[in-house]
Symmetry: C2
Subunit: 548 residues, 2 copies
């Protein structure tokens, strides 16, 4: 035997205890005084540490990230940051100042230009770009954090946390650090004697600090129906008729977008007229979209499980607890990890949008000079090869009688053939390929791969890509609905009828939809005020969405 | 607007409160007296309810399942059971007695014969067969439970639960019910004043009952090295040399099996000799396998995240907290959901075994007359299409320079060409196809699909299937290592050299391995006693594994 004996097997614990010992100058219990947070971080974090900082596309541990950026770079340097989302300016300041060096992340929407520039300038070292759940997975394998900085609504003196409607990714980040002798620091909006409910047990939390102001929270999933166009109404009608009804889609996820908001708002009108209530769109994995209110009020929706909350929807959700997941206190319980798991494995369909789609259906929202990352879409927007149970819609994707063949998840892309600014969505080659080369990435940042896409919907019609028997057929079906983009113009219009007959594409008339019927007047709510009305005044939109 | 007004939006809560109101005759607090459990279940559960009953391949809520089987079928009938694993006789008694009617499950190993028979006799209605995580996902979508029956080690009077090393799936099952106004009942081994740590907050738990004996727990992952054969040593050497070293596999999952146990036991001997320590097999997603002890003691293993615990490994794990995830109390924190997530998305490689492999690499452990289900293997044993980050091993699976090409997860099948009883493993067609027809399943119960398998290892050699450019090449590579099975005998041996030259297969000599060197003497531990010795007496094997 060659065992390494006499070796300590609790170095992580010893390091943690040593750091906590030094905290005695700052606090005698687990509460860090607000004005001592910078000093506390300098004490609890060491150069080279792996630090997971909460902040996805909604909730941000904004007080802690701002405090970390104020640390002394002479004391605190070379941190390896792990962040779901790089969305605050100070997230990148950390690298400018030399406090942090390396980053592993999922999404960098608002900071995607700057991160690309800093990478080029050698100011940060890139780890990998992930989906949310991949990054969470690595927290338990090879990116185990030394420190977790997270955000919650309230804490009690024992460190128990109440996250209210915005539980999101907090429990997962905390679990990775707390159960590996990492240090967990939670910023809270307030300290209370008794919590409405416990979302995370106090025995998982080392320190709590009351933030100078409530954590930042973005109303990311609010779409004002005022901006929905007639074209989007047309697309929504096609989706309902040509996809949801055709395949009997019962459970689904909608991305953020006006086109999917239009679908939500057509269910109680157009969907009702088609007699589809109770037959489609019963179970949802999505944030509490305000545009889903009319469908909920009309009895379409049996359940909604949420990744996170949505600003202004708190009271409405709490008053509709037969539909949403809520705690004993009545407020929403979201869970980003579990909702992504459900969105991947347990729903019939994902529908999202894109900025570019190539001739074979590969798509990306990445454009030159931007490293936007992935967020959650690729996790839900692919056919999960590990799935073994079936559903009606899933089985409907089978196109042959091979005894080993199986169904497929429905992955729908809905786009208009041109973006704003007259840029074609359908392109010969994705900008993502250039970004791969420019940023030296190992693979091209493709959001949804063509092989996973079952349907593409444009204002021209639907391409039923799951029916294509070859790459050439796939290409033809896409070109047939690509309008007057260069790809669309390549299309031999004499082939259109053949594709229609074979069911590879459907035009609105094939679905019994008259273009002239596609009007905004079909929307169950035409503006935010009408959503509030539908909600019986329970929906309280943020100021920026109020126009009355 | 056509809103359904005046309608209650808290029917689930009202139903729960009504049931709990009736519990006043049984208890005045949240503790159910042990001898009143049957009456309590009859009070808290209603006919037709969806009941999730904890019990995976290790931990079982055995007291609660036995109590449920004693309920009066006149009062309690037509339940829809949701169970990770159907493993206890009483799980199926529920259906014999008419208490339950429908079942959705993941795994039915020990009861797979009886369930197939009962299905044929019309004694139960089959929902779907899932992997663990698919079933968990559906708990938040379209299989939301009315009642959750779970097991924990200890509870306090406030209902906080301590699950100790066997946290497993408990938090996920509880979350689905607790946050949807379902009723959560936990059996515990004991009630204490203060818990060593809180694994699940009391505000998620409605009732606690002290079980008449500790919950059932299977030492499922213990393999006695005594039973490892020289052939398995040979295969393990090939895996280390021809897969782990070749592709620089740093993070991985091992299934249950003597062949993977052999790999674990060769790391400190053969692996050490090859100079691979610190280069391969650093991060693991797996249960605390006793056969991993020598590798841990020799400094090979940086981290292990666990699906569940393993009987006898409690003290060892607690003493090796730099390697395992542990709580403040020092004992293991396992989490089946998070470990499956990590095992799917965050590791380089999965290796498992199978009973049958067809000519294209599709495999199944299902044989005629048995409905064994899937457990967790398909979730980890597929190439996750949603993965966007790369690793060295993952990128090594790229076989072309297409700008959109990406890496692949390594999915390895290791089998001997014949099973016990001289049945060939390599077959023209899987028994799973017959089972599909016999049981009227929507798809054939394939465990791992050929398209996902990157390597097959037999005693003859390794087939590098990821390199095959066509189905024909794949077939040839498999046949070349299929020995004297009918599939192997079809192989034109004149092609073997060509396949070797092209790297599609490797024989032991191609890897620098002499068959005569493959001896049990290479194992770091040759029996359970030596594992105990390696562990410094910390590993305490269950009686059935003790022979001294």
């Amino acid at each position: 035997m060659q065992a390494i004996k006499k070796h300590s097997w609790k170095k992580r614990l010893e390091a943690k205890e040593k750091r906590m010992e030094k905290m005695k100058d700052i606090t005698s219990n687990r509460i860090i005084p607000t004005n001592k947070i910078v000093q506390a971080l300098e004490t609890l974090i060491q150069p080279g540490d792996r630090v997971v900082l909460e902040g996805n596309n909604q909730k941000q541990a904004s007080f802690l990230s701002a405090a970390l950026a104020k640390a002394d770079p002479e004391q605190l340097y070379d941190l390896h940051m792990i962040m779901s989302s790089i969305s605050q300016p100070e997230h990148l300041d950390l690298f400018e100042y030399g406090i942090a060096k390396k980053v592993d992340f999922s999404y960098a929407g608002p900071q995607s230009h700057r991160i690309a520039q800093m990478l080029e300038d050698g100011k940060l070292t890139m780890g990998e770009i992930h989906t949310y759940v991949e990054l969470y997975g690595r927290l338990f394998i090879d990116l185990i954090p030394s420190v977790a900085l997270v955000a919650a609504d309230k804490a009690d003196a024992a460190g128990n946390l109440y996250t209210g409607p915005n539980t999101e990714e907090t429990p997962t980040l905390v679990e990775a650090a707390a159960f590996r002798d990492g240090i967990v620091i939670a910023q809270v909006n307030e300290l209370v004697d008794e919590l409405p409910r416990v979302d995370i047990p106090g025995s998982w939390i080392d320190y709590v600090v009351v933030a100078d102001k409530p954590y930042q929270l973005e109303p990311l999933f609010t779409r004002d129906p005022r901006h929905i166009t007639d074209i989007q109404v047309l697309q929504a009608m096609m989706i309902i008729r040509g996809i949801y009804e055709k395949h009997q889609v019962k459970s689904l996820n909608h991305g953020i977008g006006y086109n999917t908001a239009a679908v939500e708002l057509l269910l109680p009108t157009y969907g009702e007229k088609l007699g589809l209530k109770g037959k489609i769109c019963k179970h949802w994995a999505l944030n509490p979209h305000p545009t889903l209110i009319p469908a909920i009020e009309s009895g379409w929706v049996e359940s909604v499980h949420c990744f996170g909350g949505e600003v202004g929807m708190e009271k409405y959700v709490a008053s509709r607890r037969d539909v949403f997941f809520t705690g004993r206190d009545g407020s929403l319980r979201s869970n980003r990890t579990l909702c992504q798991l459900a969105g991947q494995y347990a729903v019939d369909l994902f529908v999202g949008s894109s900025l570019q789609i190539d001739t074979y259906g590969n798509s990306s929202t990445v454009t030159r000079g931007r490293l936007a990352g992935f967020g959650g879409a690729p996790n839900m927007g692919h056919d999960p090869g590990g799935r073994r149970h079936s559903s009606e819609a899933w089985l409907d994707m089978k196109t042959n009688n091979n005894p080993l063949s199986r169904g497929k998840k429905l992955v729908v892309q809905v786009v208009e053939t041109f973006q704003n600014g007259n840029k074609p969505v359908f392109v010969e080659s994705l900008d993502a390929l250039d970004v791969k080369n420019d940023a030296g990435l190992a693979t091209a940042p493709v959001m949804i791969y063509g092989e996973d896409v079952t349907h593409i919907v444009t204002e021209e019609g639907i391409a039923y890509l799951y029916k294509a028997n070859s790459m050439e057929e796939r290409r033809q079906a896409i070109a047939a609905i690509a309008g007057v983009t260069p790809i669309g113009l390549e299309h031999d219009v004499r082939k259109t009828d053949k594709l229609r007959r074979e069911g590879l594409i459907a035009l609105p008339e094939d679905l019994g939809i008259r273009r002239t019927d596609a009007k905004r007047s079909l929307l169950a709510a035409k503006n935010i005020e009408e959503l509030v009305e539908w909600s019986d005044g329970l929906y309280e939109p943020p100021a920026k969405f109020r126009s009355w």
